[in-house]
């Protein structure tokens, strides 16, 4: 069963009465299966938080379909079995670790007694043992993030949604949080993770989606992206149409012209035998090979590729439109 189902989801923010409309999501579709850790990757402003907020009913969707745990997203029922750690969250300063858990637990519908029973162990899990009595305004950023995580886990939800969980947390803290996530996954829960930090996602997720400017660029298993495919970069001399006809049926990417009849491109191959085949085919067509190097495709490459490609496309579009690229 899909825990999260999103179909052609669109969101337009209207800022102010006469302000511009921001198209934050432009038809996003994705499915998250039960028991997996799903990572949503994308640069800042991609629309990741917006997607989560629509799922939780914090903002309304403009078009499309979204369900969570079998209920329409945004309905009160759909939120019962969900734990959420928002980005930049703030816990009121008059609370302590213990009272904060009590407060948020009650808001999730738990009884005070049940909260008291679970509280100690949970604080221990997230690494806040012995700090429950302290006011949250004495907590560091990392501790607040762990308390937030504890709050999201408190009512034993089936789905945990984390928005930039390691943002502003030191490396030690990060690995601690990763450990907790693995624990949660081992309990058979589903985790939906948002991040603009690739490594975080790469290290814990089962599957990832890359979101850029409101559009899903890729959805794949982390395994596929990191090991199954190999890419070689070739630098050759010969006409481009000769090259493409010689390698008919293979995907060529990242064409870069390097002077008179000199080309550089990338090609994905399954195994070493395929490399020989490619070389043979090129030689047969009279194309001479100048250089050839293997590239390991990691998630990072994929991410940068996709994002850069989109950047280039946009720049091109804007120059043809005669507009200036806004400097950031």
């Amino acid at each position: 069963m899909a825990v999260i189902e999103v179909e052609e989801l669109e969101k337009q923010y209207k800022s102010g009465f006469f302000g511009p409309t921001i198209h934050a999501l432009k038809g996003v579709s994705l499915h998250v299966e039960a028991g997996e850790i799903f990572g949503l990757l994308g640069p800042n402003g991609a629309g990741k938080t917006t997607l989560i907020k629509i799922l939780l009913g914090i903002v309304s969707k403009t078009r499309g379909k979204a369900t969570m745990l079998g209920e329409p997203a945004g309905s009160r029922r759909s939120r019962v079995r969900v734990g959420y750690l928002p980005e930049h969250h703030r816990i009121p300063h008059h609370l302590t670790g213990n009272t904060a858990l009590e407060y948020y637990g009650c808001l999730s519908g738990m009884s005070v007694r049940a909260i008291h029973e679970k509280r100690e162990a949970l604080l221990e899990t997230v690494g806040l043992r012995g700090r429950g009595q302290d006011r949250v305004n004495t907590y560091s950023k990392g501790m607040l993030q762990r308390l937030g995580l504890a709050q999201a886990m408190l009512h034993d939800p089936d789905l945990i949604i984390l928005d930039e969980p390691t943002d502003g947390v030191d490396p030690v803290g990060r690995s601690a949080i990763r450990r907790v996530l693995k624990q949660i996954k081992d309990q058979g829960k589903t985790i939906f993770l948002n991040s603009h930090l690739l490594q975080e996602v790469e290290l814990v997720s089962d599957r990832v989606a890359i979101l850029d400017r409101g559009e899903v660029k890729l959805i794949a298993g982390v395994q596929d992206l990191t090991s199954d495919q190999k890419t070689y970069q070739l630098s050759v001399v010969g006409a481009r149409d000769k090259i493409t006809s010689a390698l008919e049926g293979r995907e060529l990417s990242q064409w870069q012209p390097g002077g008179e009849n000199v080309h550089s491109f990338c090609i994905g191959v399954e195994d070493d035998g395929a490399v020989d085949y490619v070389v043979d085919q090129l030689r047969k067509a009279g194309v001479s090979i100048r250089a050839m190097s293997a590239r390991k495709t990691s998630l990072e490459d994929a991410f940068i590729d996709i994002v850069e490609e989109a950047e280039v496309q946009r720049a091109a579009k804007e120059t043809t439109n005669g507009k200036k690229t806004p400097s950031k």
């Binding site: 009913g57 903002v59 407060y103 808001l107 519908g109």
Partner: protein
Amino acid sequence: MRPYLAIIKDSFREAFASYVLWATLVVITLFLLVLLPIHFDVDQATEFRDGEISNWDRLLTDLRDAAEGGDESPGGHIWSMLTEDQQKLVDDYLDGNSGDEPGPPGGRRMRQQRRFLGGLNKLLGNAELYDEAAFADVEVSEEILHAVRNSKDGSDELKAAQRELIAATFPRSFDLFSDGAVYVGYLIWKHDSPLPVAPSELNGLIRSGLAISVSLIFGWGGILVSILVTSNIIPRTFEPGEIVLLLSKPISRPLLFVSRFIGGCAFTFVNVAYLLVGLWLIAGMRFGIWNHRLLLGIPVYVFLFAVYFSVSAFIGLRFRNAIIAVGFTIVFSFFLWALSFTKGIFDQVVLAPIRITTIVPAGDEVLVTNSSKETLIWQQQNWKPVFNESGQQGPQFQRRILFADSHFHPQYDAGNDRIVAMKPGTGWSSNDVIAGTRASNWERTELGRTPDSILALFVDGKGRVICVGMSGIYDFVPPDPEEQKNLEILEAASGGFWKPPSRTGTKSLHAEGFARVRREDSIAMNPATSALSIYRGGTLTNYPQLEDGTYGAGETVALQHANTESDARQAVVAAGNTVLVGYEDGIVELVGGESREFDTLEGDTIKSSETSSNGRFVAFLTHEGRVWLFDCEAKQPLSIRIPAQGNVSAIAFRGENELLIADRYTRVRAIDVEDGHVLEQFAPSDSMIMKAYFWVVKPLHLVLPKPSELNTVVTTLMTEKESEVLTAGQQADANLQQERISVDTWTPVWTSLAFTLFMIGLSCWYISSRDF
């Protein structure tokens, strides 16, 4: 329910975590501790107080006269005990000399009184003041005599007893407040002269003292502090980092806001509850006054706060900024205050004085009088003043208060084509009747003077002006020619400086044994038969007019409602072809035959009655502005739609079946009694000031909350005061017809509640329809 309780609980937690709450609680504690040592002690009164001598001239005259008869009389004995200085003081006082009293003559008598009182008080401790023989005839209780004889010289018992003795000696000149005296003290200190209240008044004094101090503390300062302290609750809750987490929980947004709102009232609740419970305990344990109504202040003040908080919360929600919320709320409260003030000015100074209180159809013209006792006539689409006293002075609103109790009773006398009325004075009644004829453009002249205070005035079927006074029924007759001549000679001799009091004489029309009419009684005349009906506190007497124009001996009719309902004693009688009595509790009783009661007026207080010229229709008007019509032929109430029902300020019949109705201060409309059709309208176009009132001030005042009125409500609740007061002459025997100012307790509560709910609703709508 659990999540919302958690939110409210969190508000308390937050309140207790803030230093401000502890600071205010400390301030309240200090205040209560300061109050704690106050004590009131009730002792025997051992001296006379200012104001206990009700008639100085009589006392001192009696005293000096008694002295002339030697010291065998009690007065003579007292005189002999006075020092020479004191005796001289009495002489100076009575002869109007300044004596050895220095200072300006203005307050001289007052100072002389004080000195005499001081001397008299000294004498009270003197055992020789009592002389067995001299005081033999003075009536005092055995107890006092015993105390006077046996108490030690200078003791408090002696002083208290001799005080009573002297007062009993001159019963007409003394008016002792009570035999106790109240002293205020703090810790071990005790004020050495008593408070100017009797012990029996102490309870009420403490109650209103508490109510007033509470309303001062909370009505103004406390609310402001609460608004300041709570202003950040909503903006903070709706900060992006916090609200997103709250909204992700399975709770409803409106209820989240409402819970936060209720929680925001926690701060005020804790403070108000602490102060009021503290005061309640102090009043109960220290003074034995367990005034549970004091505790009513808790919900009411929290409500008063909620009114402001609903504004502050909405602004805080909209702008997510506490400073804007506070600023706006303060500006808003000033606006409310200014609006309330403006409305008060409009009501009291501009509008109340011009409200039509009587309508006098005069042939084909219409005259009206307003509450400042001005007479106006409808000409050229406007009300023009006529029939007014020349050189009438003072602003209208002042005249309204001044003449509030005076009767005017303008009537049209068709036979002479003139208007007659009682001359309004500053008292409640008058002996003078004035008239103005159409021929002389309604100019006011004196018609005559009755031998008695007039209570009602009518023009009867014979065209005579009939006055009903306290002691009888009178008619005016042309003056005795002899006397008239003498008076004219006198007037001429004085060079026109002296005017004869009256140029007409009066004739009594009542029969032997006419029972006295008091001013709280009600009198009506049947215009068709000229018979009079008088309601005297529970009994109704009908006086038929005889052939010769005099009135026969009354025939007393039993009344049902007046006998069964002892708290509905006051009533207004209406004399149509059947007589009806409208009671102060809104019940109308049909008198004669099988008597019947109608209670369609739902507890309104009946104010006045009118009868159509043929006696067929009777109308009652209530203080609440409602009209009740009755058809004496069908013996049934008329169920026509009365325009402006609930706002009617005056009614009158014109002819047989036209009813004139005044509303909206200056508008008069004539309606057909049979079908309620509006036949004619006399309404001047609104002046700018009226437009401003009707289109701006009044609607705004209606929909916006009324915190200052609410504050009054609390004080009223806590002191158990009557909710209705009369104007200047507020007296137990006031007539039902007198103008009343009603303090409306519940309207401000309802409208403020509606406003608050509206603001909360607006906030709920806002948060439901927003992306966060």
